[in-house]
C-alpha cells in the first residue's frame, strides 16, 4: 500500500472540500462564502482531474463533467442552504444529475425510474411536509448547523477513505483495475427461464440483457419474493401510519 503522502491527489481535494463545506455551513454571523466557494471549486477541479472517465470522447467527457460536477455542487448547496425549500429543490437537482450519470452508463430505465420516484414523488413530499411544518417561520435548527466541525470531519473522513481506497485499488496495474467479472457457475441445475436473457438475434448473439422487459422478468422472476415482501413492508407502514394518526374525536397525538 502506498504511504499516505503519496496519495496527495486524493487527500488535498478532500481536505479542501471539507474546509469549503465547513465555511459554507449555515451559522450565526457572517459566512466566508467567497473563500469557501473558491476552496470548493479548487477541490472539485482537483477531484475531477484525478477521477477521469476512461473513454476518450469529448461529448461523453463533457457530459460526465457536467453531470458529475453538477451533482457535487448541488449536493453542497443542498446542505449549506438556509432555506429548507431551496434545499429540497437542490436535492432534486442532485437527483437529476445522478440520473444523467446513469444515462451515460447505459441504464435508461434506472434513470427514468429515479427521476419519477425521487425528483417527482419524494421532493414533492418533502416540500409539502416543510410547508405544513413551518407555518411559524424557519426554526433555529435551520438557521444554524448543529456541530458543523464534527459533521464535516466525519463526512469527509469517510469520503476521503472511500476515494483513497478506490483510487489505490485502481493503481495496482492493469489487472487490479475494477473489471467486469464472469459469473461463477454455482451448480448444475435447470435455471429459471425467467432469469435468462432472451436471445433477440441468433446470428449476432444479441440479447435483451439490460432492456426494460428483461428487468421486468428479473423483477418478477428472480426477485418475486423480495418484491412481495417489500409490498408487505409497505402495507405495514401504511396501516401503521393510519393507526398512529390521531382520530378526529381525539384531535391530537
Amino acid at each position: 500500500m502506498n504511504p499516505l503522502p503519496e496519495q496527495w491527489r486524493m487527500i488535498v481535494p478532500a481536505a479542501l472540500g471539507a474546509l469549503a463545506v465547513w465555511m459554507l455551513l449555515p451559522r450565526d454571523g457572517k459566512r466566508r462564502w467567497v473563500l469557501g466557494s473558491l476552496c470548493g471549486l479548487v477541490a472539485l477541479v482537483g477531484v475531477l482531474s484525478t477521477v477521469r472517465p476512461v473513454i476518450d470522447d469529448w461529448a461523453m467527457d463533457g457530459l460526465f463533467y457536467l453531470f458529475g460536477g453538477g451533482a457535487v455542487l448541488s449536493g453542497v448547496m443542498m446542505i449549506t442552504d438556509r432555506n429548507p425549500i431551496y434545499a429540497a429543490l437542490w436535492f432534486a437537482l442532485v437527483t437529476l444529475s445522478t440520473c444523467g450519470l446513469f444515462l451515460l452508463n447505459a441504464a435508461p430505465f434506472l434513470s427514468a425510474a429515479t427521476i419519477v420516484v425521487y425528483a417527482g414523488a419524494i421532493v414533492v413530499t418533502f416540500v409539502f411536509v416543510i410547508m405544513l411544518a413551518q407555518q411559524a417561520g424557519a426554526a433555529t435548527y435551520d438557521r444554524r448547523a448543529f456541530q458543523p466541525m464534527l459533521a464535516t470531519c466525519a463526512g469527509f473522513l469517510l469520503l476521503g477513505a472511500i476515494l483513497y481506497t478506490i483510487d489505490a485499488s485502481g493503481r495496482g496495474g492493469e489487472d487490479a483495475r475494477p473489471q467486469f467479472l464472469p459469473r461463477v457457475q454455482i451448480a448444475e441445475v435447470t435455471p429459471n427461464p425467467l432469469s435468462q436473457p432472451r436471445i433477440l438475434n441468433e446470428e449476432t448473439g444479441e440479447t435483451d440483457l439490460g432492456s426494460l422487459s428483461s428487468i421486468g422478468r428479473s423483477l418478477f422472476g428472480d426477485y418475486l419474493f423480495a418484491v412481495e415482501l417489500a409490498g408487505t413492508v409497505l402495507l405495514i407502514a401504511t396501516i401503521g401510519a393510519i393507526a398512529l394518526a390521531p382520530r378526529r374525536a381525539q384531535g391530537h397525538l
Binding site: I162, T165, I166, A168, S169, G172, D175, A176, P178, F180, L181, P182, R183, V184, Q185, I186, A187, V189, T190, P191, N192, P193, L194, G221, D222, Y223, L224, F225, A226, L229, A230, T232, V233, L235, I236, A237, I239, G240, I242, A243, L244, R247, R248, A249, Q250, L253
Partner: protein, 496 residues
C-alpha cells in the same frame, strides 16, 4: 411455465411458518379498524381476543416449523439450512413469550395493531435467517425495522415514547443506508446478489485483485449491522430508546434485533476461503475484536452510572452484545467440541430468556398510570411483591453469570472457546470477558440490594396480570432448565 410454478412452490415450501405469521398479521390489520368506534373506543377486553389470535398464529407457525426438515441449500430465493431452522425455533419461542408480555401493554383500541406489528417482526427475523439473496436479506431486515417504529409508539404516546421512536427511526434509517452501501459494493465485486453465488465468487478468488474494495464492503456492512447489535460506537440510541419505550417493546428491542444482526452478519461475512491468505473474515476480524472489547467495557462502565432501571438494562444489553461478539470473533475456532458460533448461539438463546424475563417483571410492576423507572422504585420489593422480587433476582443473577443459572453456562462457554481459540488475541478476549463479567456484577447486585435491604418507599402496581406472570414463569423455566439440561439446547445447535 411449469418450471416457474414449481420454482415458486418450492420457495413457498421453505417459508411456510412465515406465510402463516404474515397471514395472521394481514387478518388483524384488516379486521382491527372495524372493531374500534369513531371515537377511538373499543369493547372492553378486546385485547384478550387479539392476544389469543396472535398466540394461535404463532402456534400454527410453530407447528409448521416442527414438521419442517433441513433442506440442502439450492439456488432459490430461500434456504432452510441448520441455522435458519434453529433461528426460526428461537424466534418463534421468544415471540410466544413476547406476545404474553405485550398482552396488557396497549389499550383495547390499539392492541390489535400492536400485536400484529410484533408478529411481523418475528416473521422478519425468520426471513432474515431464511434469505438466500442479499436483496431478500435487506428487505427482511426492513420487515423488522418498520414494524418496530410503529410498535414503539403504539402502546403509549407520551413525550418520552415519541422521543424514543424518533431517535430509533432516524438512526435505523442511517444504519440501513450504510448496510445498503456495503451490499452494493459486495454486488459490484461478485456480480450477483445471490448468497451462494457471492460465496462461490469469493472462494474462486475473483475479487482477490481488489482486496480494498472488499474491505469497504465489509466495514460498511459491519457498521450497518452493529446498529442492530447495539455494539459501540453504534449504541447511542439504546439508553434513550429503552427508557422511553414501553416494557414489552424494550424487551423485544433488547433481543430480537441482536438475533437478526448476528444472523445477517454471519450470512454476509462468514465465508471461509480454503485457499489464499485473505478473506472477508480475516479482513474484518481485527475490527470485530476491537468492537467486542469496546462494547463490553463501554456498556458495563456506563451501566454503573445509571439511576434509571431501563437505562441501566439498556447498557447491560450493550455489554451483552459485546460478550456475544466474542463468540463471533472466535468463529470456527474454539474448543474441540464447540466452536465460537455454537457458543454464540447458546448465549443468544439464554440471553433471550433472561432479558425478556427481566423486562416482563418490570411490566408486571407497572400500572397504566405509573411505570417503574428509577432504581429506587424497586426499594423493598421483596416485601411488597415477593414472588416478582424472587423472579427478578433470578434473572439478574443469570445476567451476571452466577452458577445455577443458564447465564453461567453461556458465559463459561464463551470464555472457554475464546481461551482455546489459539493465539494471544483470543486469550486476551477471554480475559477482558472475565473482567467485564466482574464489573457487571456490581450494578446487578446493586439492584438486588435495593430490593431486599431497603424499605419500600413508592407504591408498585398490585394488579394481577396473568399473561405476564405466565411469561415470567416460562422465562424462569428456560433460565433454570438450560442450566440443568444444557444438552437439550446443544443437540439443536449441533444441527446448525
Amino acid at each position: 411455465m411449469n418450471i416457474v410454478l414449481s420454482a415458486i412452490r418450492n420457495a413457498v415450501d421453505l417459508i411456510l411458518p412465515e406465510v402463516a405469521l404474515l397471514a395472521t398479521v394481514c387478518m388483524i390489520f384488516l379486521a382491527a379498524p372495524f372493531l374500534v368506534s369513531e371515537r377511538g373506543e373499543a369493547a372492553p377486553g378486546l385485547r384478550h381476543r387479539w392476544g389469543w389470535l396472535s398466540l394461535i398464529g404463532l402456534s400454527v407457525a410453530a407447528y409448521l416449523w416442527s414438521i419442517s426438515e433441513i433442506q440442502p441449500v439450492g439456488l432459490g430465493p430461500f434456504r432452510l439450512d441448520g441455522l435458519a431452522w434453529f433461528i426460526r425455533g428461537l424466534s418463534l419461542a421468544s415471540g410466544l413469550i413476547l406476545v404474553l408480555v405485550n398482552w396488557n401493554q396497549a389499550e383495547d383500541a390499539r392492541a390489535g395493531e400492536t400485536q400484529a406489528c410484533l408478529l411481523a417482526i418475528i416473521a422478519g427475523v425468520n426471513l432474515v435467517a431464511a434469505a438466500n439473496d442479499i436483496v431478500g436479506l435487506f428487505v427482511a431486515l426492513e420487515l423488522i425495522s418498520i414494524p418496530t417504529y410503529i410498535f414503539l409508539l403504539m402502546p403509549r404516546r407520551d413525550a418520552l415514547a415519541q422521543e424514543s421512536m424518533l431517535k430509533y427511526f432516524m438512526l435505523s434509517i442511517f444504519s440501513s443506508a450504510t448496510l445498503l452501501f456495503g451490499m452494493s459494493y459486495l454486488y459490484g465485486l461478485t456480480g450477483t446478489t445471490h448468497l451462494e453465488g457471492i460465496y462461490a465468487s469469493l472462494q474462486a478468488g475473483q475479487s482477490q485483485p481488489m482486496p480494498l474494495l472488499v474491505t469497504i464492503a465489509a466495514v460498511m456492512m459491519i457498521a450497518g449491522l452493529a446498529f442492530r447489535l447495539t455494539a459501540v460506537p453504534f449504541h447511542f440510541y439504546a439508553p434513550d430508546v429503552f427508557q422511553g419505550a414501553p416494557n414489552s417493546v424494550a424487551a423485544m428491542l433488547s433481543f430480537i434485533p441482536k438475533v437478526a444482526g448476528f444472523v445477517a452478519l454471519y450470512r454476509v461475512l462468514a465465508v471461509t476461503i480454503p485457499s489464499g491468505d485473505w478473506s472477508m473474515l480475516s479482513l474484518s476480524t481485527p475490527l470485530l475484536w476491537w468492537l467486542a472489547v469496546l462494547t463490553m467495557f463501554v456498556g458495563n462502565l456506563l451501566a454503573l452510572l445509571q439511576n434509571d432501571v431501563r437505562r441501566m438494562l439498556a447498557f447491560s444489553s450493550v455489554s451483552h452484545a459485546g460478550y456475544m461478539l466474542v463468540g463471533f470473533v472466535v468463529g470456527d475456532a474454539g474448543t474441540k467440541a464447540i466452536s465460537g458460533y455454537d457458543a454464540l448461539l447458546f448465549y443468544l438463546s439464554v440471553y433471550g430468556a433472561m432479558t425478556i424475563g427481566t423486562f416482563a417483571t418490570l411490566a408486571a410492576l407497572s400500572t397504566s398510570s405509573r411505570r417503574v423507572s428509577a432504581i429506587s422504585d424497586l426499594d423493598g420489593l421483596s416485601q411488597t411483591r415477593p414472588v416478582i422480587a424472587i423472579a427478578l433476582t433470578f434473572f439478574l443473577l443469570s445476567l451476571m453469570g452466577m452458577p445455577f443459572t443458564a447465564g453461567f453456562v453461556g458465559k463459561l462457554n464463551l470464555f472457554l472457546v475464546a481461551w482455546n481459540s489459539g493465539g494471544d488475541a483470543g486469550q486476551w478476549l477471554a480475559i477482558w470477558l472475565a473482567v467485564n463479567a466482574a464489573i457487571g456484577a456490581w450494578y446487578y447486585l446493586r439492584l438486588i440490594r435495593e430490593m431486599y435491604l431497603s424499605d419500600p418507599v413508592t407504591e408498585v402496581g398490585q394488579e394481577q396480570q396473568p399473561a405476564v406472570m405466565v411469561a415470567i414463569g416460562l422465562c424462569t423455566l428456560a433460565t433454570m432448565g438450560l442450566f440443568m439440561m444444557p444438552e437439550w439446547l446443544w443437540q439443536a445447535i449441533q444441527k446448525v
